[in-house]
Symmetry: C3
Subunit: 399 residues, 3 copies
């Protein structure tokens, strides 16, 4: 309990100021909002371990999850986070109304929100759309709240968009803070955010974008490496540069996996679809038309052929020797492991096996990160709310 009290004390020093707002992109957040959210996550995890009931919603209000793309990990993390805080989870499946924009979004968002405290949204399929959709939803519930239609203003939590994947990045940040002894211990640590080969060529760009944008804020030495043509969204590169400058960190982009791994404390090798290809695919999908499938097949063929040229972008035991001693392999999971679930993949078996449990621990931060985002956006004074949880001292299990 000492640990919890010390976290709450630290929280009181921070101006979190997220009440009735949303948790969309880390780069829209102040440093205090980021750190505050991280600390709330740590406090909730500690309370759970102490068998303390953390329900702050005591009426089974709804936590709505809207997955516009498949998900297991994030789905269960959101459900766990919602349950932890006392929300009942309801899935909102709007996949049938593909072109859900404009009036449909505005109205739909309000119709599901009469007793809703939070809407978690994953919408990462199309470049230029996911973030926009979340903003549109947030504006819709704001309008409903301002007009008195909604008795509370549900917060929108970004469970992955085309630009950012903040629940993943925050979960990784928590993992690094635990590994190295605190958020203030990350300064100077080198992280290699690198592309890696995978037979599945179309993975989202939001993970690498979220990592370079967030880790640069903590003074880390962030090295982004990918083959030519596998660029990220240009805006996120600008964000990373600016953050590195402000924090006294470093941000490098190269086309060499080895250079990135050199003396790295953390390597994060994963596959993604290059930005230009993502744009091309999005345009194809949007345009449709007669020869649509033909063109999509042609693009896929081109992508797979291009991909194959970079089969050597693999995280191997050998390559890990380039890193600093005690370097760790990280991944958002699930990953493609050579010889385990594919012929050639992002990582070899020895590396994967060595860090398998580490990567599970990494993932284990996600429920707390999401719960923290909900609590931060739904309560005026999160430190005071946590104090009330401690004071109430209700038990989580009837042991």
């Amino acid at each position: 309990m000492e640990k919890i009290e010390s976290i709450i004390k630290e929280l009181k020093e921070l101006n979190i100021d997220l009440y009735n707002k949303d948790w969309l992109r880390t780069w829209d957040m102040t440093q205090e909002q980021i750190e505050g959210t991280a600390k709330i996550a740590l406090a909730l995890e500690a309370l759970y371990k102490e068998n303390i009931d953390c329900r702050v919603f005591q009426n089974g209000s709804l936590g709505v999850s809207q997955f516009r793309d498949n998900s297991t990990r994030t789905r269960f993390s959101f459900a766990s986070a919602a349950a932890l805080l006392g929300l009942q989870v309801q899935d909102f499946d709007d996949t049938k109304s593909q072109a859900a924009h404009g009036e449909t979004v505005r109205e739909g968002a309000n119709m599901i929100s009469f007793l809703t405290e939070c809407i978690g949204i994953r919408d990462d399929k199309f470049v230029g759309e996911g973030h926009e959709f979340q903003v549109e939803t947030a504006e819709a519930v704001q309008e409903g709240f301002d007009a008195g239609v909604l008795h509370q203003r549900p917060s929108i939590v970004n469970l992955q968009c085309d630009q950012d994947h903040p629940t993943q990045a925050m979960c990784d940040l928590l993992h690094f803070a635990k590994t190295y002894g605190g958020l203030d211990k990350l300064k100077g640590k080198k992280i290699a955010m690198t592309w890696a080969y995978s037979p599945a060529y179309g993975k989202p760009l939001s993970v690498p974008q979220s990592i370079i944008a967030l880790m640069t804020r903590f003074g880390m030495d962030v090295h982004l490496a990918h083959p030519e043509g596998y660029d990220l969204l240009p805006e996120t590169i600008e964000v990373a540069k600016k953050h590195a400058e402000e924090s006294g960190g470093k941000f490098t982009v190269s086309h060499s996996m080895d250079e990135a791994f050199k003396d790295a404390d953390i390597v994060y090798p994963k596959s993604w679809l290059g930005y230009n290809f993502a744009v091309e695919r999005t345009e194809l999908l949007r345009k449709g038309g007669k020869d649509f499938q033909e063109k999509l097949d042609e693009l896929e063929k081109r992508l797979l052929e291009g991909n194959k040229k970079h089969i050597d972008w693999e995280c191997t035991e050998e390559r890990m020797k380039l890193c600093a001693p005690d370097a760790q392999w990280c991944h958002c999971l699930p990953c493609d492991t050579t010889g385990l679930n594919c012929e050639h993949g992002e990582v070899d078996i020895p590396t994967f096996e060595k860090f398998r449990v580490n990567s599970w621990n990494e993932a284990g931060n996600k429920p707390w990160a999401i719960a923290a985002m909900i609590l931060a956006t739904r309560f005026k004074d999160p430190a005071a709310t946590l104090e009330k949880i401690v004071e109430r001292d209700a038990k989580r299990r009837l042991d």
Copy 2:
């Protein structure tokens, strides 16, 4: 809290008598049952606003929702209502067993009810079936309860059938009561329940039927207007006539939208499939056979062509001028707005925009209406139960 206490006081005067019964059609209810349910809804909403925990089921018993037709609004309203009262929502998807009648229904209803307090059912696809299915389910759980198989008798709540849509009508009733200052202020108000053109020709008849049947009870001047051939279920016309007579209200049927709008306080223009067509379609679907699709296509073509002749049945800014001053446009949502989500629709943009928030407020009553139906059917003395909620004074949020 004064407001709540005054509602509870009024409730005590009413003989609600719905314990261990169902909430199926408004016209099976006494006036006191209707008013009682409305007042419970208002009390629950007021308690929620006061941050009071309204859970009356304190063991996570189940609230089962059985949607035999798609739904977003009603689905979330039911989930919200169930959560508000402390029930855990479970969806029962029996769509695979299309011909779920007889033994299947009798057994299935009991098998999902061992710890269930309420089953909400939407079954509005086929004329002559939806209500029957709900009655069958109610009889099945009654048998299980009487035989001691079920430890409690789950109540069936009609979330829309082929005849009535009571959660919508009650939600509208609450909206009118709020607009005009009370249920007793509705007498003499004119409501135009009119057909309107929509490119989607097959919308259910239950909404207009539920409106004419319920609003006539409150002494309203109900004007039903539709093109020739777009009749409602004859029995509901009889119900509306009888109610108007009994309440001193008025019930008129015409084939003129303008006549209906003349001096109206409320207009409710929406598309529906004419009763005869609904019967024809149901018979086609039931019969199946070789040339089934051909016949269905032929019917659809005929319906669309017929529909097009009435493209002028639109609620326009111009037409609204026929109404009384301060007249309001209502809709069960989602609606088809000309130039917004279709080329020609039920309403024009200026009218839609003017009353958009009003229509959201209208919809916002649905969770409270459903929660009231559950509470009224599951507790012997709803006024006493509400009093206990007030006395307990548990907080909904840990603020």
Copy 3:
């Protein structure tokens, strides 16, 4: 409440020892574990009837249900059990990743378990797979728990595998105990577990296997009867023999329904696919290939033709006369009733109607059986936990 206290007293005498373990197959359990689980089920049912809140998880932790085959009855029983104990149910649908073995299972099991207390799994489609999958999942969460990834060790509850259907068998055991006045009153009672004809030829073997394995432990006279070729999994026959020897019961296998019915106290006639056919079908499905569908059609044709030869394996009013007086018909439901939902089925209408409510009562034990399995595996001292529920004396409903 006296009844509850007496059950708790009996429970204290038993060494249940299931904490942080799984509930997979009855034959892996000691007699005390079986009896202990049964008594917990009876205690929970009694508490529910007394309007006592039974939530032992007070933080909305997750109860995950993973149905790799369709289910209504067991799905709702699991949901009810989870809700009763305070868990929020989340479905884990992994049907898309058909070949979910190896790494996928190991990782997936941990990823859904960060705040999960229990995972209920149905996986009964393929001989030799279902139980293995459950063991694999259990080992995965054990590894995660040992490594500190999971803060609690979710228990796996078998909701039907290829070998056993313990929630059904335990539910039947409870039914028999209630019918005859206690678990100690089953000795010598004859149960006829017989095959019966059904137009659906492919029903799982787990129910008959679970019945012969469990009921032989209680000294019952278990008579298994089926046409030639409709064998059960050989291992389960061995288990039944051994149990009968140990308990002083009896285990007979014959090919005569009449012989089985002779003087039986309980008859349990139901259809299943013979073991050899199940193996053949599994191999076909696993192998796939070009002529796969052709071969499957051929097998199906052969099975249906073979089945038809045994159309006289029906539980009829006439045949029931062979039984002891007061004999009862049991079934796991849903069943195929001649002239009701099929032309020729497992049972005739008079027998079905006579015992319909009895079979519903039989099924009604399932939620309590599942809840008991969860409580037994998640709490160190279930008797003490039940005592705390009694002492807390919180009400289930605000009556």
